[in-house]
Amino acid sequence: MKESLLEILCCPLDKHDLELEDAEYEDDEVVGGTLVCTECGERYPIEDGIPNLLPPDMREESPA
């Protein structure tokens, strides 16, 4: 994903802004890292360049 996509993306739960952490870049693409909600702190992974913004209960891993 392009970093400028952050202007449009938000937390699916509370619709607050997301902050990019631990970004990995390839050219001008963000290929890895984590999007963190500035309000609730929920963390969303960027997996091979595609942000996974599914609500936590719909994500792959089951809660510990």
Binding site: M1, E7, I8, L9, C10, L13, I50, M58
Partner: protein, 219 residues
């Protein structure tokens, strides 16, 4: 496993074969986009699958940026492949149509076709229509479609839940959840949502509605 995750898992499983059978854009979508007169717009293909309609958005005059959102990672991969092969630009996002990870008033033109009917409860379907209203700018437009009881394959006259088999090469079948709308129900759900219903029609067994975003303060 919850039922929305089940829909995601189904499409992850059939993604490659499903996408290979979804080559061409729908004429109804082409007509909808041909009527748009926009500048520097942001387009959204909600339930983008293999991005055949995201491609149309990306190639439309006045659309500067296109987002393709789908619940299935497997389908998003087929969309990425299509974008690479055909040289169009789409920002891919994995997300839930009933809980969109997109900012208020961020989308000018949206296509939400053949996706609403996969949401397993009326509450989720209405939530997704409200979410579409929230992310559309007030004068933005979206095309919403769903399978209807008017389709040749159904005898029912009232909306109902069903599963429709997908047959993989080799003969294995995978069930997919569908809510088949009756026409009055489709109109009623759109009217009950925050979207403004502008017009609707029936075409090839599908209900189509052209809608506008919510006015400020409504959503």
């Amino acid at each position: 496993m919850n039922r929305r995750r089940a829909v995601r898992d189904t499409y992850d499983r059939i993604a490659a074969h499903f996408a290979s059978t979804r080559e061409y854009a729908w004429p109804e979508v082409e007509a909808f986009l041909a009527d748009r007169d926009v500048e520097r717009a942001v387009g959204l293909d909600l339930g983008c699958g293999n991005c055949r309609h995201a491609q149309l958005l990306a190639e439309s005059a006045g659309i500067e940026r296109t987002i393709g959102l789908d619940v299935s990672r497997g389908l998003l991969e087929t969309g990425r492949e299509r974008a690479r092969e055909r040289g169009f630009d789409v920002a891919l996002v994995q997300g839930d149509a009933a809980a969109l990870p997109l900012a208020d008033d961020s989308i000018d033109v949206a296509v939400y076709v053949a996706t609403l009917h996969h949401l397993p409860t009326r509450a989720a379907r209405l939530a997704s229509l409200d979410e579409l209203a929230r992310v559309l700018v007030p004068d933005g437009r979206a095309l919403v479609s769903a399978w209807s009881t008017a389709h040749d394959r159904f005898d029912e006259t009232e909306g109902f839940d069903t599963t429709v088999e997908w047959t993989l090469p080799g003969g294995e079948t995978v069930d997919r959840f569908y809510h088949i709308y009756d026409i009055a129900e489709f109109e009623r759900d759109l009217a009950a949502s925050d979207l403004e219903l502008l017009e609707w029609e029936l075409s090839s067994g599908n209900c189509y509605a052209t809608v506008a975003g919510a006015e400020p303060g409504e959503a």
